[in-house]
Symmetry: C2
Subunit: 296 residues, 2 copies
């Protein structure tokens, strides 16, 4: 195992433990809801968003604990979106990360409410940063970014267009919009929250946003590629789901070869943009470039 | 029209305009999502929660504009819960406030996302109070109450138990839990946020919470009564929906007569608790007592 893999493993373990610290105990009459919430949060995943947040925060010299509630919050928002995305009315997916999806285990109604409760818990958790660091305007700035990038002008806006155009042709502009919003927005939020909390300037935030958008594009295109070339065992979910769901994807429009080139191009562009900043984080660069060849 | 009705009408108009000021323009690729969001927010309703918030804030001597984003936020959270509650997987209701429900007009997937986007917008909106009044610890206190009372230990927890026990018998303790959470929690949030933002002490907050819980119980029991005795034209939704949905209600357990007595008893208890505080708001008292005889 390389040094990078070692560091990666250590950091993901640390992130898991931070997140678990913000999850509620499953007790009381609403035990089933809390069980569903824990089930969804604890089934694994790469923890990419909290990791990108933490590493961007470190790159900008951030050292306080105020980043922790935001790290947990971004993973909760991501998991919320997966639970609702998997619902029968949306992608109707039965497997995720090698386990049955939340609605398959707990029923549709409970999955809708568990998704809601996770989105709510995300903001309940992130808001703890206000009490931990009262009067720090960077916390308000980070919170604003997190809500904006999640909402109708961010991730949820992207998902809505994705859903609306199932089975219909998409223009290149619409496809880029969907990718940069449904996947890019949360990755932008991750890195921008990290930068904002560490006191980045407005101009630096814009640079981070541009880099993060490239990572989001690369990440979503790689997802499309894996949906065609990957296997269910590695991915923990069925392949060819885009075809099943009649989704227009980067691969269906541009072909596999071009899609692979674009993943590499977007990833290298992200690193280039970050290197223009007067800060450095080698691990972050390596993390971004490693995503080019990810198989899960 | 009495003086109270005049005041009521004026205040509801004012609240509508405050809320509209925080709604996004429906433009961009995600226009349908934003349309669905506006449709759900603008179909009417009593605006009871922002009104209770505003009046409790006034009772505790609050005068700043920081209450406005919270007033909009509580109505967004309430509307979010209605959209998801009406979904086929939950109550499967086709009419609400005299109009078709969001999923009937926009489809199930869009209704799920619109509900998500509204919950998100609620916190995006409430968080504006942090920038408007930086470093004020009462804003953080109000925000904490709002998230807690909405989440798994508040409204969403109550809804989950409500959903889980459809068609099954409930103990009195469970029925009280469901009512105090699914309906009570947001009314508690409304009044407690108002009090907290105006600088109420921890002890005063507890007293407000107890009063609000009584209002929530009275409100939900009156809902049950109207579902049996009301008519579709006044209510703007079909009657006998509890029977249809195999719900155990206060009326089905205690009978109509007892339910009516309980509405009056809980309402009077709420006013009594508020009158124990060294502040006064006659309009608020009258508002609470008027809810006893509401027909919509």
């Amino acid at each position: 195992m390389t040094n990078f893999d070692d560091q990666m493993k250590k950091r993901v373990t640390e992130i898991r433990s931070i997140i678990e610290g913000y999850l509620p105990e499953a007790e009381g009459f609403q035990r089933t809801l809390l069980d569903a919430l824990d089930y969804s949060m604890l089934v694994g995943g790469k923890k990419l968003r909290p990791l990108l947040m933490q590493q961007t925060y470190a790159m900008f010299g951030g050292t306080s604990g105020a980043i922790r509630p935001f790290m947990a919050a971004i993973e909760m928002i991501h998991t919320h979106s997966l639970i609702h995305d998997d619902l029968p009315a949306l992608d109707n997916d039965e497997y995720r990360r090698g386990k049955k999806t939340t609605h398959v285990v707990y029923g549709e109604a409970m999955a809708i409410l568990a998704g809601d409760a996770l989105l709510n818990l995300a903001y309940e958790t992130a808001a703890k940063a206000f009490s931990e660091d009262p009067g720090n305007p960077d916390v308000a700035r980070a919170f604003e970014i997190l809500t904006r990038k999640t909402g109708a002008y961010g991730m949820l806006g992207g998902q809505s267009v994705d859903v609306e155009y199932v089975g219909k042709p998409l223009t290149d502009e619409q496809l880029y919009f969907i990718y940069s919003m449904k996947t890019g927005a949360l990755i932008e939020a991750s890195m921008m929250v990290g930068a904002a909390l560490a006191g980045a300037s407005a101009q630096e935030l814009e640079q981070v946003e541009a880099a993060a958008r490239c990572i989001g594009m690369a990440f979503q295109i790689q997802d499309d590629i894996l949906d065609v070339t990957g296997n269910q065992e590695d991915l923990g979910k069925p392949v060819n789901s885009d075809e099943k769901n009649q989704k227009t994807t980067w691969v269906s429009v541009h072909g596999l070869e071009q899609a692979r080139e674009d993943v590499e191009r977007y990833s290298r562009e992200a690193v280039r943009l970050l290197r223009e900043l007067p800060y450095e984080n080698e691990f972050l660069d390596e993390l971004i470039l490693n995503l080019i060849h990810r198989t899960v």
